[in-house]
């Protein structure tokens, strides 16, 4: 039975590792300016912890195989050096890895989430609600109208609660259900939640951020390739959570202008 266990563990280890290496299921190609850093960090971690995984499992299997015979008169052996090598080994190996990962990792993290957006970044408001996203562009006047939750009325498409009757800044605000952005331009999103917590997750951008009701949370990115991809919700928000989705369209500067005009035309 011991030998069988050893074999099973070995097979599981090889198969799992193989599939990880084969990249059958893997991250989609990244198209954000800062995504490369995250991918690099991911690979670092993948390699180091992959090695740990394989070694640990195989040593376990090896020992089980080696000492599998239920021979009660064989003398037992104590692991050379007792517990000390274990403690030292763990502290040095794991400690070193932690140090490396934290130092590099926290830099990348800071560059995306701590560092403020480029001052010239294009500002876009995002309203998350059960179960859709709406995006607001300031329009020609470059000013956002103020938000009045009490005026929110989905039946007339007033998803942000604008007050065009009295608020001139609000009249030319462009509200769309698709997030179109110009390529190679820093974008700053301001995340508003209308009802409950939601999240903004674009795998290809490698960024993710919760919407928290009552807070306005900034998030910035720069898309470096013309593409269309999905924005999905990763924070349980109710029955339609699985269907909470919008599309991110990265357009050339001209196409983006065209798109804006179309939107404001309507």
């Amino acid at each position: 039975m011991g030998k069988l266990f050893a074999i099973v563990v070995t097979i599981i280890t090889i198969v799992s590792t193989g599939i990880f290496l084969s990249h059958i299921w893997w991250m989609p190609p990244d198209f954000s300016l800062l995504g490369a850093g995250i991918d690099h960090q991911m690979m670092e971690t993948m390699v180091t912890s992959g090695v740990l995984f394989v070694v640990a499992q195989l040593v376990l299997a090896g020992f089980v195989w080696r000492f599998a015979d239920n021979n009660d008169n064989r003398k037992i052996k104590i692991f050379p050096g007792g517990a000390t090598p274990m403690v030292v080994g763990a502290i040095i190996l794991v400690g070193a890895e932690i140090l490396a990962l934290t130092l590099v990792g926290s830099k990348i993290w800071a560059s995306i989430y701590v560092a403020p957006a480029d001052p010239h970044a294009l500002k876009i408001d995002v309203q998350a609600e059960q179960f859709a996203y709406y995006f607001r562009y300031p329009g020609p006047d470059g000013k956002f109208g103020t938000l009045h939750p009490d005026l929110i009325d989905a039946s007339t498409g007033n998803f942000f609660g604008l007050d065009p009757a009295h608020d001139t800044a609000a009249r030319d605000d462009i509200v769309a259900a698709t997030l179109a952005v110009p390529v190679n331009t820093p974008i700053q999103l301001e995340l508003h939640a209308k009802d409950v917590s939601h999240a903004f997750y674009v795998p290809e951008l490698r960024i993710q951020q919760d919407f928290v009701p009552g807070l306005v949370i900034p998030l910035h990115f720069t898309a470096i390739r013309l593409t269309k991809s999905e924005i999905v919700c990763t924070q349980l928000c109710g029955l339609g959570h699985y269907n909470m989705r919008a599309y991110l369209e990265v357009l050339s500067a001209d196409d983006f202008k065209k798109w804006l005009n179309e939107q404001s035309g309507q």
């Binding site: 099973v8 000492f67 037992i76 794991v94 993290w109 701590v114 928290v212 349980l236």
Partner: protein, 589 residues
């Protein structure tokens, strides 16, 4: 109430006092285990329904429509899927992973292992079980309320869990019952932990110094301390949430929320406050589930390897370190929550550091195997399985502990795979090992080894087939808590989901072997001797099952630690803790 007089060695007679409202820690321990057996079966069935729906969303499950109005014609609606998920999580985490290894096995074994006649407060002990029972009933009743069962997940994030009906199905009575149930459960656990601590501190028999306590007792002791602190924070959180729901307060609900076109009458609350309170409990909860496993494995390994556990003191130190660190890491659940991004780094460091003691314990177990004279009984196999699964689950923690990587993997199936391995499966293997190991002591009969080994190998393969692929799904950006993968980039993952579903059904079926073995052995198993495994700790010095006062009127005296294996003892290669012979000379080379 506490000074046990050995007069009542026979214990109370009469059905009610003996089996139902019993004060005997052994009966209460078995009651806990039976409750968690019911709970785990329920939870497993819920997970099957979820898996079936994920693989084949349009599938109509026969009979389901009859019991669940939410699932019209047996087709699982999105909200019903979320309810299944919420109930699965809640039942498994609270009523299985907390109840079985800690309250259940601990209740039965701990007092015997320290040579006590019973818990320090038998009445509290009985109360804490029955309060747990009530909590379970209240939770399950949430399945049958008009607005449908709760669907806010086992983490019940506010404001979704706090605003009430307008937020959609499951936000009416269902969610309220959920909060009440968890609140009640907290009270039960607090009583239980208090009892464990007092018992371990005050009722140890002569010679049972802290250093001589078996590893399992150590683990339960540390767990009870973690539990005491964790649940005394979750309880207030539940009170606040309940008030937000029913009394119109605004602890967690901010101003200006428009839900179902209605402006909510709340103002000023902080949703992040709930997350902080919840995860301050939630992360230690992970260790409440896994530490008993540590103890059980460390307790069983020497008995099955026939050699002392490597570095016993180090192991205990590691468990204490883990317990301490577990209170400094809750923020790693909130990297993406909108809290100050600086704190992400602050929280990630201790999160990574906690892997050091974990790694050390793993190495100690593996090192113990070296040069062993393994006895591959089922308990041993589950210990080995525990180590393998714990390694797999622990290593995926390396990814999630780093904010930079978590910003990609957060909220994906990678997380699901991670915590099911490290918290779910590992703890379950610990429980299985404990049950196979202590069953003879509990019921005076042996479990069937052949069935046990089949149960192990099938389960072991099964869990890897279920949870390893989830890591791949996560890498591909497959978001968790989705009731279906509509026409989008996640569609490609459906085949893998179907594979997981099949694996889940297969593994579930394998558990039938365990149930059969459990019930058959309880009545037909061969009669167990006092010490079937030739183990050293006190529970093996008394008869199987032990008399009502555990040691038949006398108090055992302890002369040795629990780790005296692979030595020249008078009866074989080990020395019982209570045998008066002198400290042995190690026979190991």
């Amino acid at each position: 109430m506490n000074s046990p007089d050995s007069s009542h060695a026979a214990g109370p007679q009469g059905f009610w006092r003996k089996y139902v409202f019993s004060l005997d820690h052994k009966v209460i321990g078995r009651q806990y285990l039976d409750l968690s057996l019911v709970a785990v079966t329920t939870g497993m069935i819920l997970s099957w329904l979820m898996r079936l729906h994920l693989g084949w969303p349009a599938l109509s499950i026969p009979g389901l429509g009859a019991i669940a109005p939410e699932a019209t014609g047996g087709i699982i609606t999105p909200e019903y899927y979320l309810s299944l998920m919420t109930m699965h999580g809640t039942i498994m985490v609270f009523f299985v992973l907390t109840t079985a290894p800690f309250a259940g096995l601990g209740n039965f074994i701990l007092p015997i292992q320290i040579g006590a006649e019973d818990m320090a407060f038998p009445r509290f002990n009985m109360m804490s079980f029955w309060v747990t029972f009530v909590a379970f009933i209240v939770l399950v009743s949430a399945f049958f309320v008009p607005e449908g069962p709760p669907l806010s997940g086992w983490t019940a994030y506010a404001p979704l869990s706090a605003v009430g009906k307008d937020a959609g199905p499951g936000q009416g009575w269902g969610q309220t019952l959920w909060v009440i149930s968890i609140g009640i459960f907290c009270i039960a656990q607090l009583l239980g932990s208090l009892n464990f601590i007092a018992t371990t501190l005050d009722l140890r028999t002569k010679g049972m110094s802290l250093a001589r306590m078996p590893f399992s007792t150590w683990a339960w002791f540390i767990t009870s301390i973690i539990g005491l602190i964790a649940f005394s924070v979750l309880l207030p959180a539940c009170v606040l949430l309940l008030l937000d729901r029913v009394a119109g307060t605004s602890f967690f609900i901010p101003a200006g929320l428009v839900i179902s076109d209605r402006l909510q009458p709340h103002a000023g609350g902080s949703p992040l406050l709930w997350q902080h309170l919840f995860w301050f409990f939630g992360h230690p909860e992970v260790y409440i589930a896994i530490l008993p496993g540590f103890g059980i494995v460390s307790h069983i390994l020497p008995a099955v390897t026939r050699k002392p556990l490597l570095g016993p003191r180090v192991l205990i130190a590691c468990m204490i370190a883990i317990a301490f660190l577990s209170y400094t890491v809750w923020g790693h659940h909130m990297f993406m929550s909108g809290m100050n991004p600086f704190s992400a780094t602050v929280f990630s460091v201790p999160t990574l550091i906690i892997t050091i003691p974990a790694a050390i314990t793993t190495l100690l177990w593996i090192g113990t195997l070296y040069g062993a004279r393994m006895r591959y009984n089922t308990a041993a196999l589950f210990c080995l399985g525990f180590i393998s699964v714990f390694v797999s689950g622990g290593i995926s923690g390396f990814f999630l502990a780093q904010p930079a990587i978590d910003s990609y993997l957060h909220g994906t199936y990678f997380v699901v795979g991670h915590f099911h391995f490290v918290m779910g499966v590992a703890s379950m293997f610990g429980i299985f090992a404990g049950v196979y190991f202590w069953f003879p002591k509990m019921f005076g009969r042996m479990m069937n080894e052949t069935l046990g080994k089949w149960h192990f190998i099938l389960t072991f393969i099964g869990v890897y087939c279920i949870f390893m692929p989830m890591h791949w799904l996560g890498l591909a950006g497959n978001v968790r808590r989705y009731s279906a993968f509509t026409d989008d980039y996640m569609k490609g993952s459906i085949p893998l989901h179907r594979f997981i579903t099949v694996a889940a059904l297969f593994t579930g079926a394998a558990q039938l072997i365990f149930f059969y073995n459990l019930f058959r052995s309880r009545f037909r198993g061969e009669i167990a001797p006092a010490n079937p495994w030739q183990a050293t700790s006190l529970e093996w010095t008394t008869s199987s099952p032990p008399p009502h006062d555990n040691f038949g009127g006398h108090h055992p005296v302890v002369y040795h630690g629990p780790n005296e294996y692979g030595v020249a003892g008078k009866d074989g290669d080990y020395i019982m803790q209570n045998s008066p012979e002198p400290e042995p000379v190690a026979a190991a080379s």
